[in-house]
Structures are given as C-alpha cells and as structure tokens.
Amino acid sequence: MRTLFKTSYDTDINLFRDWSQARWYLALLIILVVLPFFLDIFWLGEMTNVLIWAIAGMGIMMLVGQTGQASLGHAAFLAVGCYANVLLQERLGLPFILSFPLCGLIAGLAGVLLAIPTTKLHGIYLAIGTLAISILMDDLIVVAAPLTNGVIGLMTPSITIFGISFDRYAELDRFYWLVLVITLLVVLAYRNILRSPLGRAFAAVRDSEVSAQAMGVNVARTKAVAFGISTAITGLAGALIGYFLTTFNNETFNIIISIQMLLMIVIGGLGTIHGAFFGAIVIALLPQAIAMGRDFIGNLTGGGSVAIPGLESALFGMILIVFILFEPMGIYGRWVKIRTYFELFPFARRDMFRRQRSYLKTERMR
C-alpha cells in the first residue's frame, strides 16, 4: 500500500496524481500507439470503432455523468456532427482540418439551442423531451432531402490533411492514429474542464440545484454550457462515425443509438472518463463477441452458424440489468474495487464501498 504525501496544492491540480500513475497511462498510450503494427485490419478497425464510441461516450458523459441531466437524444447530435462535416466539405469545399472542428461547433450550438427550452425540465421529463429530439432528427433529415439526400444518404469523402491521406480503408493505420489523437485531445479537454471551476459547477448542479444557486452558480446557464460541450464532443464523434461507416442516412443515427449511448455510459460507470471507455469497449465489441460465440456454438453442434434475430439487443439489455442490480457504479466501479483490494491487500473489507443512505433533502423550491 502506498501513501501519497501531498506537498503542494498542485498535487490536486495536476493531471496525474504522481509519477507511478503517470507511468501507467504512458504505458497504455504506448500500447495504443503501436497497436497498428500488431493487429490485423479487422481488429484495428474494431479498435478504431471503440475509440470513436469512447469519444461519443465522453460527449454524453459530460451531460449525464457530470451535470446529471438525462438525455435520450444524443444520436441526433451524432447526426448533426456527421452531416455538418460532410456538407461543409461537399457544399463549401472546406478541408477536413476546418470542417471537423466546425462540425463540433455546429453540434455544440445546436445543443445550446436545445438547452434553452429543456433546461427547465428535470429527470424523466427531460429524458422524454430529448427523446423527441432524436425522433425529430430522423424526420428532419428526410425532409431536408435536397441537402441531406434523405433516405438514400451520403458518402463521406476520404480525409486528407496537408496532402497526407487518412483513408478509412486504404490507410486504416493512419485513420486509427488520427482518431487516437482526437480521442486524446478530447480526454485532455474533458479533464481540464473537470479540474476547473466549470467542472465543479457541473457537479454542483448535478448534486443539488438549490445550493448550487446559493453558491452563485447560474443553474440555467451552466446546464446550457453542459449541453453545448456535450453535444460538441458528440458531434465530433458523429463525424468520425461517418468516416468509419463511409455511408450514412437518416437510419444511421436512430433512436436505438441514442438509447445505446446512454446504456453505454451506465454500464461503463457514470461520471468518469474511464466509464466512457469501458462502455465503448462493451458496445463496440459486443456484436463481434456475439458473432464469435455464435460460430463457436455452431461448430460445437456441427451445424452451420445459428442466427437469432435481436440477440444483440437482448444481450445488451441483460448486461444492463445485471449491472444495475449488482454494480450500479458500472465496470469502472468494479475496477476500482478490484484495484483497492490489491492495493490494501490483505486489509480490504467487503463493505468498504457500501453506499450510505443519503439524508433528507430540503423540499425543492419552485
């Protein structure tokens, strides 16, 4: 067991707790960087998919995990980001290096616009309100067919930055590295927000709106900012999903994706960056795991592969139920428990993480 002796306020401000923690993340980073040399095309594609979903996960995490505002409409902002990115390139002829940040900005502005009518809503009402956005976006894409090509959909052009091609198929390793860099930048920005006054204002709004207000936090504006940052990150992820799939239409970002995004961060662990990554691993790799399991069982029984429709959704639902019942803090919560067990070995106790009943809250005003 190690004890950290803090000698400066900066220990609590820095990105990493100490050198030993920084070393672990450095090791992880090196593994991620050299991954294209060891993985075949298929698994490298899957890894890219995981990273993209992790960005999307961080997007919705900022709103749901950090600010405590439920959203069932985030697929709409994947769509906004994806369409904005492609249209900026095709219609305005902007290069990727400009269209990509701009599509995040557009998705962010769309989020702020959505926040204005919805910040007064709470809990289930907010969930339903945002759910409507997700449904509306589907129709909106069809209605705006002259721009979006409706149900036929659009194709993403290949990425070229300063003459270097990052094509999703021809140069998958470069595309992977590009996604990795974007992921790292988002993680850095996310961490920076969390360790600054804004991140604390988010947590304040999440845990008690009344006292956030009494502390001088403008609750409505803070929620709007949270919506904006969240949807901006989601928009970036949407653009990358567009590149990953190469074609997309109104069905690509449907309501199921919205729900999946929310489930993803719950399974991963609400309120942590780790949670977004763990959830992304589950959501991106589950279809592959199912396919492999199906082949395995097919081989065992001697028959061909068995196809069970809806298996993926059913398994996903089952995993969610198991987590809500046995590990509400998600995969990250389990990870922290296992880590603590080894850190304190042999002094870890079973009830160390038992949650205390919370005390009565004052009646909410207004």
């Binding site: 920005a189 006054p197 845990d207 936090v217």
Partner: protein
C-alpha cells in the same frame, strides 16, 4: 445605513400567510437571531432573503439597494451566503470540492482557458485553494479534506456546509439552524465559530436557531416570530421574557408565573 433591511415583507402560499408584514433591519457586524415555533416563517424569511421566493409585497434591501430585481444566483456575488436546514451539500464530491464550489463567485477564468487549462487558470486554482484551506483550518476540517460527503456523519456535514458558505467570503451569512442535530460539544463549537466569524472575519450573521442557549450566548439581537408575524425584537433576554413570546411558546401568559429559560 443598515446592511440588510427587510421592510413590510409578506409572502403567501395559497391561503396560508407564511410571512406577514415583517420588518427588521440588521446592522453590520452583529449576530441577529430569528426564533419562533415551527411554521413561524423563519426559514421562509431566509428563502426570501436568498431570493428563492418572491415576496408579494414589501422590499428587501442589501447595502441600501433593493435585491428584488436580482436572481438568486447573484446573491452570492453580492456577498450573501447561506446554509440549509436539511443540509444541501454536493454528495458525490469531496469536502474540498464542496468548499471550492463556494469560490464560484470569485471565478475569473472563462470556458476557453479552462478547456486549455492555461497557467492563468492554474494560478486561479491555487488562489482558490489557499482561500479554502483557510476555511478548512478555521473549522478544523483537515481530516475530512479528501473525503466524500456521502460517507460523512451528520455533524461534520453541518460544519462543511458552514465552511462552504464561508468560502464565498460573504458580508452576510445566513445560518439555518446551525446546531440542529448536533451534540452539546458540537453546539459549543458552533457558538465559538459564530463568535469568531463575527469578530475575526467581520461577517454579519443572521441565524435561525431553536437552541436558546446558543441564541443567548452569541446573538446581539433576537427577533421572535410566530405565525408569520414579528412578535418581539430586542436582546435575547428581553425577547425571552416578552409576554407575547411566552404566549406563543407556552400558550398562556400568566404574569404571576415567570418562565425561566
């Protein structure tokens, strides 16, 4: 000029008159207590001063200016801090983070430099931390600095909430039952702290409290309320022996029987 003037304030909830034409003023540097039986309108007055409720008539002035045209989240910037009767802390955050939220009104950084975490933001963070550490030292919260609120006992939470209000560096501190649910020793601590807040920090305190020992020990003036109406205003001793106050608490005013408090 008084620091806070409450003038003829009335608030109704449907047919219930929660606060009925209450007027008082609080001078700078004093400890002012609000007492009264349950439902007298004490906490409602707090919610009026912190702008959670709008009065139907009357005016509330802070440093000579009416605050009725300002939203509640601006009260902290004006220098009005408060605690809550039932504790409203940020449960999924550490004590340190809770206190740092109190520094929100001193936030100088903007979204763009926070995202980049520029050296300016880092310096600001250090400055906030220093201010918060002073509060931690003042309230002896060092042991709990990195503990999550969700795991803390009630008494500590009460103190943390007071600390969070102090981190605002207020001119006026509203304490809503700071000693309710505390042990005798903890209540004594609160008495000393209120004394120090007034004398060392120069902060004016308005306090709602049922514990008359605490009230008479620390407060300069007391306002007794019952059924939304002001009954008596004066020193703790005067108010405790005021016939109307005795009537409100005991029910009958018999001059032959002196109530010993």
């Amino acid at each position: 000029m008084s620091l806070l003037e409450v003038e003829n304030v009335t608030l109704r909830f449907g047919g219930v008159v929660a606060v009925n034409k209450v007027s008082f003023s609080v001078e700078e540097g004093e400890v002012f207590a609000l007492v009264g039986p349950n439902g007298a309108g004490k906490s409602t007055l707090f919610n009026l001063i912190s702008r959670f409720y709008d009065p139907v008539e009357g005016d509330i002035r802070f440093q000579g200016k009416s605050i009725l045209d300002r939203p509640s989240h601006e009260m902290a910037r004006l220098g009005i801090a408060r605690t809550f009767q039932n504790i409203e802390l940020f449960e999924q955050a550490t004590v340190l983070q809770n206190l740092l939220v109190g520094r929100h009104r001193h936030r100088q950084s903007r979204l763009w430099n926070e995202v980049l975490f520029t050296p300016f933001v880092r310096n600001e963070e250090r400055r906030h931390r220093e201010a918060v550490e002073k509060v931690i030292d003042f309230l002896d919260l060092q042991v709990y600095r990195d503990k999550y609120i969700a795991g803390l006992p009630y008494g500590v939470r009460k103190v943390v909430e007071m600390g969070r209000a102090l981190a605002i560096e207020p001119k006026l501190l509203l304490l809503d039952e700071p000693a309710s649910g505390l042990s005798v020793e903890e209540t004594q601590d609160v008495a000393f702290w209120v004394e120090d807040i007034k004398k060392e920090m120069g902060v004016t305190v308005i306090m709602v409290e049922h514990d008359m020992h605490l009230v008479s020990a620390v407060s300069d003036r007391v306002l007794a309320l019952a059924d939304g109406k002001a009954l008596a205003l004066g020193t703790p001793h005067e108010v405790q022996n005021h016939p109307k106050v005795i009537e409100a608490y005991i029910g009958v005013a018999d001059p032959a029987e002196k109530v010993v408090a």
